[in-house]
């Protein structure tokens, strides 16, 4: 019998990095080493601890990383609590990759890119950012606007400081919600910061974050002159199968797990407002 | 009766006593009636219905309706008033926001019993002197009215309204019912026979939760069977054990609070006699702790919230009845 997508692979957690007080990044490899499967930036995988539950997480490592996959996971429910309690060497089950991806090889090619992320929303974008950094010649300018509640809540802060900020042609703008000691950067919410920075409207925008942030940022972008066709986002709803059959993650007739999670805002605008 | 009800409802809407009316709405066929809320006289004229098929107990909807602004008029049959009383006692409804008109009770009809006779293609049903004249696309059929009566009405416990603001028609009495007959029959079987009986019944269960969701006593915000943290949440009986467990817990949770309105059995798509489980608890409570009718009043303590120091011991179960 063929392998069924509902039957998962085994993955071994080979490294756990504490990013913020409630976000950890897990490195997952196949038991014999190497990656479990190839993916494209923006795609997701179902992680599970048998007996606890299964949930969809975006793959945060870039496909250009050929050794392992990474998942940045925020503690917010039953399964994630268990995942956070894991130690290195723990096996988990993984299946995927699921969903579409950011059109990095088609529509985004040759474009100036603007990434806007809030909080854990950086996780799915990190895959794209690192992908385009590794294939620098294919893309124009890169700008990242990233905000979080506080300095401690900035996911992948070390990577941002040491790698992204030191790259040529990558502009990183960080902001936190409230002023705090040891922070001399920008203070304020992401939507306002985007307006302050007034990015060039030739850029293609990739945005991910809490729904409320997306809502206001999108409004701000429109004020600046951006069109909906220029803005991509990635969605999340409750999922069980990951292949558009279990019937719960639909927005209108589109399944987030299969037709998404990446949507362009003009596509999203045609769907009913139920997410 | 239907006409008088519509007239009275219109008056109460008109003089501002109530803002909404909860009752029953006509369907596609002669029998598929939906509980509905009416807000205008036009809606009442168009769709309000009260006939032999308006069996649905609307009291559970009052949990939601009575929390809205403005009074709601509810037409309640005797059995429904018990449910409302129980809900009032448990502070699940705002009784002050409900205007209850007591209306005569059943016996109501069970369309499934008519269909079980092989009568199909039904386009109209008339009751002529307690003979049902059923028009079908295959010609007219007849059957005695009492053969099509709902089980819950066939063993009616009371025709008395226990709470109302106004009464339409005559007040009835509490009846001497035969409602424990089947429970007793089962009690007198052997343990193996009982087991076989319930296996054949409960194995039909599709876990649609209709019995739970229709039950006026089941008003938890989050049911233990839906709560992933309870450890027993499930959506399908993956094993015969889970069929038993669901129905034991469902019945146990309403033990002492179940007014025996019979809705659970009425809505079961698989015709499982679920009311027998509830009645078993009622019968046991009556015999162990004294006669108790849930919903008869709004002040008494439920039997499981109470005790006396000389209650019988659990071993009584081992000492009586058939092994």
């Amino acid at each position: 019998m063929n392998n069924d997508t509902l039957i998962p692979y085994i993955g071994v957690v080979t490294d756990i990095r504490i990013d913020t007080p409630d976000v950890k990044t897990f490195r997952v490899e196949a038991p014999e080493g190497g990656k479990l499967f190839e993916h494209m930036p923006g795609q997701c995988a179902m992680l599970s601890i048998p007996g606890v539950g299964e949930a969809m997480f975006s793959i945060t490592s870039s496909p250009t990383n050929k050794e392992f996959m990474e998942f940045s996971i925020k503690k917010c429910g039953c399964l994630t609590e268990w995942l956070h309690a894991m130690e290195v060497g723990q096996m988990i089950t993984v299946r995927g990759p699921y969903g579409n991806a950011f059109p990095v090889e088609t529509e985004l090619k040759g474009k100036d890119l603007l990434f806007i992320a809030g909080g854990i929303g950086l996780a799915p974008l990190r895959s794209v950012i690192n992908y385009v950094r590794d294939k620098r010649e294919n893309y124009g300018d890169i700008q990242v606007i990233y905000g979080s509640r506080s300095k401690d809540d900035l996911v992948d802060y070390q990577e941002i400081l040491n790698e992204w900020m030191t790259d040529d042609g990558v502009e990183v703008n960080l902001t936190i919600d409230n002023a705090q000691e040891g922070w001399d950067g920008h203070v304020g919410f992401v939507p306002n910061y985007v307006k302050e920075l007034d990015p060039s409207i030739n850029k293609t925008v990739l945005i991910c974050g809490p729904p409320i942030m997306i809502k206001f940022t999108l409004a701000g972008l429109k004020e600046l002159g951006f069109k909906e066709t220029q803005v991509y986002t990635t969605m999340e709803l409750r999922m069980k199968c990951g292949v558009g059959k279990c019937g719960r993650c639909n927005i209108g007739n589109k399944y987030v797990c299969k037709d998404g999670p990446v949507f362009r805002f003009d596509q999203l605008g045609e769907l009913p407002d139920e997410y | 009766m239907q006409k008088a009800m519509i007239e009275r409802a219109k008056q109460l809407l008109d003089d501002g006593t109530v803002k909404r009316v909860i009752g029953w709405k006509r369907g596609e066929f002669a029998y598929d009636i939906t509980p509905a809320v009416f807000e205008t006289a036009d809606e009442l004229d168009k769709d309000f219905v009260f006939d032999d098929f308006t069996a649905a107990n609307v009291s559970k909807y009052l949990v939601k309706e009575s929390s809205k602004e403005g009074k709601v008029l509810a037409f309640l049959k005797p059995c429904d008033t018990y449910s409302l009383n129980q809900l009032t006692k448990e502070h699940r409804v705002d009784r002050g926001n409900i205007y209850v008109i007591g209306i005569p009770g059943g016996p109501k009809l069970d369309i499934e019993k008519i269909k079980a006779k092989g009568i199909t293609g039904i386009t109209g049903i008339r009751n002529e002197n307690y003979t049902l004249k059923i028009e079908t696309i295959y010609g007219e059929e007849t059957m005695p009215f009492y053969e099509a009566v709902l089980d819950k009405c066939a063993s009616c416990k009371s025709k008395k309204h226990v709470t109302y603001d106004e009464l339409m028609g005559e007040e009835g009495d509490i009846l001497e019912s035969n409602r424990f007959d089947m429970v007793e029959k089962l009690e007198n079987m052997t343990s193996q026979e009982r087991y076989d009986f319930w296996r054949s019944e409960l194995s039909k269960c599709i876990r649609c939760n209709a019995c739970r969701n229709v039950c006026p006593a089941c008003t938890c915000e989050n049911c233990v069977f839906d709560n992933p943290k309870s450890g027993i949440d499930n959506k399908a009986p993956a094993d015969s054990f889970e069929e038993n467990m669901f129905h034991i817990i469902r019945a146990f949770h309403v033990a002492g609070r179940c007014t025996d309105c019979g809705e659970c059995s009425r809505v079961c798509p698989q015709h499982i006699p679920l009311h027998l489980l509830n009645r078993k608890f009622i019968k046991d409570i009556n015999s162990f702790y004294g006669e108790y009718q849930a919903g008869a009043d709004t002040t008494s303590k439920a039997p499981l919230n109470e005790y006396t120091t000389d209650d019988c011991e659990a071993s009584i179960v081992h000492e009586r009845g058939v092994e």
Partner: protein, 148 residues
């Protein structure tokens, strides 16, 4: 009727014991070196009233062949009235299980005080023997959990 003593059958007995009386009673039977079967697995609960019907059912689901609930004697509850509620609740539950055709000897409530070590041991011996005679729990088991 077929006589079957199920002599080789080792039933799994789950005993819910209240912290204040029965658990201490079990302890006492141990310190007094009284024997009771190793089939009995004790689960300590703060009060017999803590045991809700689901506990009993889930014990059966997970492979118990008999479930016994021990608490303080009526009137002696550490929380004054817990065991009175237990009594009503378990009476109704056991009656329901009996009604569903589950063998009634698989369930029991027994009042055991902290001083009744001997009663605890005797009760467990007797109950285990009764369940052994009944054989494995087949009417209220979850096949998925059956021991191979």
């Amino acid at each position: 009727m077929q006589v079957n003593d199920n002599k080789d059958f080792q039933p799994l007995i789950v005993a819910f014991c209240c912290n204040w009386c029965s658990y201490a009673g079990a302890d006492l039977s141990g310190t007094n070196r009284l024997n009771y079967p190793t089939n009995v697995k004790i689960i300590r609960v703060p009060c017999s009233c803590r045991v809700n019907p689901m506990f009993i059912l889930r014990a059966f689901q997970r492979g118990a062949d008999g479930v016994i609930l021990c608490g303080c004697h009526p009137g002696d509850c550490h929380y004054t009235s817990g065991n009175y509620f237990t009594r009503r609740r378990m009476t109704l539950l056991f009656s329901m299980l009996d009604f569903l055709g589950i063998e009634r000897d698989r369930t029991r409530v027994e009042w055991v005080s902290a001083a009744e070590g001997a009663k605890f041991a005797a009760t467990m011996n007797e109950f285990t023997e009764a369940v052994r005679k009944l054989g494995p729990n087949r009417r209220l088991e979850d096949l998925r959990c059956r021991k191979q």
